[in-house]
């Protein structure tokens, strides 16, 4: 898929983190801008972070116009990604449903639907009867504890094969001359007179005029090496899959009130997720209370799956920002860039974020698409709040 | 005017001290009983205050005052006094006076909460299913008090054995009363739990 190399003394760009963001940025640097003297270094393996642990939901029905435009660009790139990378990434736009169990969430959904439509994104509020038609197994009756009173329906949303995306970008980048260095941990970031000059790793020193931090859950630690503070808290997020069964669930179903979402993979497994663990941690141990809570909530929605067995559960780290929007762009250290703050929703953003970050590296100018997501917004009080659209549904 | 517990009275119904209560006969064995009409008084005062001295009960412990009032140390600087329906605990009057600078509050919370009694040899096993606290005699003997999550409801739990029979009083917010009562019944069904009617203060 990709080759192994000795570390060179210097590169034009060093990218820290071989998740979808780091790998895709390297690919677009080479493919769109002809910059291929690029190293992607990771302390572990390709896709070992959130990019290989997520529940692979793609959608663009966010709440702020900036968010909707940005995520929609990503969904567009995902649509043609298999052809662009010559690698089957198995994108299945099966439709995405966010359920409302109370008036306030229904209100936020109407608001989201209007913002979405204005940005040309297909999104509408539908009734319990229409939900039942899309998901016949769902209990939309009035006698549940939290009856379903409507849903935000987003037909272009769906799921993808996350490993294939990571591998596809890695392979395509490798073909264009990008070097991927696994088991290469960055232990320090060197700066001279407020400018980045390279990184120290467990395999030696690397010089580079541009260093990009794409380390998601570990972003605070890596940025601190360059003396850059981030408004990020790392929370674990857990997920689980069941044994495979015959296909019965087409759409992706999310319930914010019940803190749960579910989709069925092409292999027939049900994939479940929830909200993040309630306290900050870098530990990726799963917990029993997660599975218990998950099961009780899923069965509220679909009582008929009570006999299905959970095969495995796992956790990944999420870099949560105060406004549930990412942080992309320059920092106070010249040449040290960040593409972080991806929280629980960054997989779907990989292509668009990477395309924009590659353009920023190549041209030195921040593309309009990501201008609202700069680091300076926190000090300047310009938050881009996506809490209403991203706190549970990833 | 009639006062009602948040827990629906089952079986034949009567009136006691203005409250509608169940008059179902006492069942014996493992039983659950709604005692919401009992007087419940919440006291808040400094841990080192005169009031604390009069109450004479540290956090996590309960005792009976001479008039039969149950005094329970439910939180830091927080006590719950439980006495018979229609009564007012004598202690509640004693603690107010004296030091006018002391911040002491005495609030009648009788109608704001539920109070149920779970008793019987198996009561520990029932409670263990819905509460994570160690209920062994070494950790929570007769007279032990704690506040914790019981079936996900925040409750004051008082181990208050009844003539040598293991027994727990559960006190919490009124709105959760029916739910908690049903949750305890559900947990106790495998041990043949039964409902007993209201009874006047034992003491």
């Amino acid at each position: 898929m990709w080759r192994n190399f000795e570390l060179e003394k210097s590169y034009d760009v060093v990218i820290i983190g071989a998740g979808v963001h780091g790998l895709a940025t390297a690919y677009y640097l080479a493919a769109n801008h002809g910059i291929s003297k690029v190293a992607v270094v990771d302390k572990g393996y390709v896709g070992g972070g959130g990019s290989g642990r997520n529940t692979a939901i793609l959608r663009s029905n966010y709440l702020t116009p900036e968010g909707v435009r940005f995520y929609d660009r990503s969904v567009q790139l995902y649509r043609t990604l298999a052809a662009d990378l010559n690698f089957n990434v198995m994108f299945a736009p099966r439709g995405h449903l966010t359920l409302a169990h109370n008036d306030s969430s229904l209100r936020t959904m109407r608001w989201r639907a209007e913002v979405n439509k204005l940005q040309g994104v297909d999104s509408e509020v539908i009734t319990p009867e229409e939900i039942k038609r899309l998901v016949p197994f769902m209990d939309v009756s009035d006698d549940t504890r939290y009856p379903i009173i409507g849903a935000l329906y987003h037909p272009p949303g769906g799921i993808i094969r996350h490993d294939a995306v990571n591998w596809g970008y890695a392979r395509a980048g490798d073909r264009l001359g990008v070097q991927i260095h696994q088991n290469t941990e960055v232990t320090g970031i060197r700066t001279e007179k407020g400018r980045v000059s390279g990184v120290s790793t467990n395999r030696g020193e690397i010089g580079a005029p541009i260093v990009l931090n794409c380390t998601a859950g570990w972003a605070s630690l890596v940025s601190a090496m360059a003396g850059v503070k981030l408004p990020i808290i790392t929370h674990p997020l857990q997920a689980a899959v069941t044994e495979p069964v015959k296909m019965f669930l087409d759409a992706v179903v999310v319930s914010g009130s019940l803190h749960v979402y579910v989709s069925q993979t092409d292999r027939g497994e049900l994939v479940f997720g929830a909200s993040t663990d309630p306290y900050a941690s870098y530990s990726m141990r799963g917990s029993l209370e997660f599975t218990e809570e998950l099961a009780s909530h899923v069965l509220e929605l679909m009582p008929s799956i009570a006999k299905m067995r959970v095969l495995r559960q796992w956790a990944g780290l999420c870099d949560i920002t105060p406004d549930f929007s990412p942080i992309m762009g320059i920092t106070e250290v010249e040449g040290f860039l960040v593409d972080v703050g991806w929280g629980t929703y960054g997989f779907k953003a990989g292509p668009a974020a990477a395309e924009a970050m590659a353009e920023l590296v190549a041209t030195g100018r921040t593309p309009q698409l990501i201008a609202a997501f700069d680091l300076a917004r926190f000090a300047e009080g310009r938050l881009a709040s996506e809490r209403g659209a991203a706190a549970v549904g990833h | 005017m009639v006062a009602r517990s948040p827990i629906r009275a089952r079986g034949p119904v009567g009136r006691e001290h203005g409250w509608e209560v169940s008059t179902t006969a006492r069942k014996g064995g493992l039983e659950l009983c709604d005692l919401t009409p009992y007087s419940k008084v919440l006291v808040r005062a400094g841990v080192l205050s005169k009031a604390a001295e009069v109450l004479g009960c540290a956090l996590g412990l309960a005792r009976r005052a001479p008039d039969g009032t149950l005094v329970a140390g439910t939180g830091p600087g927080e006590w719950l006094l439980v006495s018979g329906a229609g009564t007012w605990p004598a202690l509640a009057d004693e603690i107010g006076g004296g030091d006018p600078t002391a911040l002491t509050t005495v609030v009648d919370v009788t109608h704001g909460g539920f109070l149920i009694r779970l008793s019987g040899a198996d009561s520990r096993r029932v409670l263990e299913k819905i509460c994570a606290i160690d209920l062994s005699d070494g950790v929570t003997p007769d007279g032990a008090v704690f506040r914790s999550s019981v079936a996900r409801i925040v409750c004051d739990v008082i181990r208050d054995d009844d003539g040598g029979v293991r027994s727990y009083l559960l006190h919490g917010d009124r709105s959760a009363g029916q739910y908690l009562f049903d949750a305890v019944l559900d947990a106790g069904s495998e041990f043949s739990i039964g409902i007993s009617g209201y009874r006047e203060k034992e003491a």
Binding site: S220 | G75, V154
Partner: protein, 92 residues
């Protein structure tokens, strides 16, 4: 389930508590400019390892307190009520 040592109630399941995050000292609101205030609000150390943080025992004593917790392992050390200083607490 990790257990949190409440200084009033002893060790309890973490589900009984609300997590309030890293302990930092709040600047006097009228003595700082907005940028500094926002720095206090948003920027976090987010350390990997031992840290001092604030928890609230919602299902128990209903008190705030501080504990030391290792964010890599979730090991916890003694809880202490607010206002009681610990040697490892940094001022920031």
């Amino acid at each position: 389930m990790i257990r949190i040592p409440c200084p009033n109630c002893g060790p309890r399941n973490s589900s009984e508590f609300s997590y309030f995050g890293e302990l930092g000292s709040r600047p006097a609101p009228d003595a700082v400019d907005p940028a500094h205030w926002r720095h206090y609000l948003y920027d976090k150390k987010n350390p990997a390892g031992w840290t001092t943080e604030k928890w609230y025992h919602a299902s128990g004593c209903r008190k705030f307190f501080a504990i030391e917790r290792n964010t890599l392992t979730n090991d916890v050390k003694s809880g202490r009520p607010f206002g009681v200083e610990s040697s490892s607490e940094e001022s920031s």
